[in-house]
């Protein structure tokens, strides 16, 4: 693979769109891997009992999944040196599974630091789930 080079990044370049699927099994795996065992991410009856429409994904699962898309663009996961977002709406995960649409656009490329900033958009069921989602990638 290898990291993306400065020559391979220009302002306005787009990433995706990519459709990511999310299943309840994936959320159970994320809960185990992250230590966040809040039942709203696993137990439909519990989620409904606290006023949610259904099981929802961990915000950090969504951010992590979007991070995977950025990693792919960067060509090396270690090159994603900054990554931040707001959690605007939850990703609802029915028993049949859910989907997240991810796309990105390169906003800045700094030739001196060889860094690119990428703004990501993530939606589920047409609703924006992340706000101000920006990653900075160290280019080769």
């Amino acid at each position: 693979m290898g990291a993306r080079t400065l020559a391979e990044a220009a302002v306005g370049d787009t990433i995706g769109p990519r459709t990511l699927t999310v299943t309840r099994e994936a959320l159970v795996a994320y809960a185990a891997a992250s230590g966040d065992q809040n039942p709203i991410h696993q137990d439909e009856a519990f989620a409904r009992s606290v006023g949610l429409p259904d099981v929802i994904a961990h915000g950090m699962w969504t951010m992590g999944a979007v991070g995977s898309v950025v990693e792919e663009w960067a060509g090396d996961g270690g090159r994603v040196i900054e990554f931040g977002t707001r959690f605007t709406k939850p990703v609802v995960v029915p028993s049949s599974g859910g989907e997240v649409e991810v796309s990105g656009v390169v906003k800045t490329v700094d030739e001196d630091t060889r860094r690119a900033s990428v703004e990501l958009t993530a939606t589920s069921e047409g609703v924006k789930v992340l706000g101000r989602c920006i990653a900075v990638v160290q280019l080769d």
Partner: protein
């Protein structure tokens, strides 16, 4: 708001060390759908210039949230965890977290504020090796929903 505003500016003693191993990184990468081999193949990681397999970009949250417990479980902080929602998250990586690292996390409460009847608490966790090498600055805002 029930959250103690006097907690702004408070720092806690370092917590940990948290041992990071290859199995943890592989499980996290699989859970978020990351297929980059630098997380699972030591050969691929070394070819990319790393000592061993490295963490995905958001893995640091698992360590930062363990540090956050010092605040959430501090009875004087007044945080009702059942009303907590994750509002914002940001990572600044100084070098990738790598299998074999033993990580210490130092938690600081950057701000406590009120907005629309909810309390918003921003915490910053500086993750570093036991030798003091900076790994990641994780900044998190939690929203504690106000009572109905």
């Amino acid at each position: 708001m029930a959250v103690n505003a006097e907690f702004a500016g408070r720092s806690y003693p370092p917590s940990g060390p948290y041992a990071v191993d290859a199995a943890m990184l592989a499980a996290f990468a699989a859970a978020v759908g990351s297929k980059d081999p630098v997380h699972t193949s030591p050969d691929a990681a070394r070819a990319a210039g790393y000592r061993d397999v490295i963490a995905p970009p958001t893995f640091a949250v698992t360590l930062a949230q363990q540090c956050d417990r010092q605040l959430v479980e501090d009875p004087e902080a007044g945080i009702d965890f059942s009303r907590v929602v994750h509002g914002e998250q940001r990572f600044v990586h100084h070098r990738p977290i790598t299998a074999g690292d033993a990580v210490l996390g130092t938690l600081t409460v950057d701000s406590v504020r009120e907005a629309g009847g909810h309390a918003m608490v921003t915490t910053r966790t500086e993750l570093a090796t036991q030798d003091g090498e900076a790994l990641c600055t994780s900044t998190s805002t939690i929203v504690i929903r106000g009572g109905e």
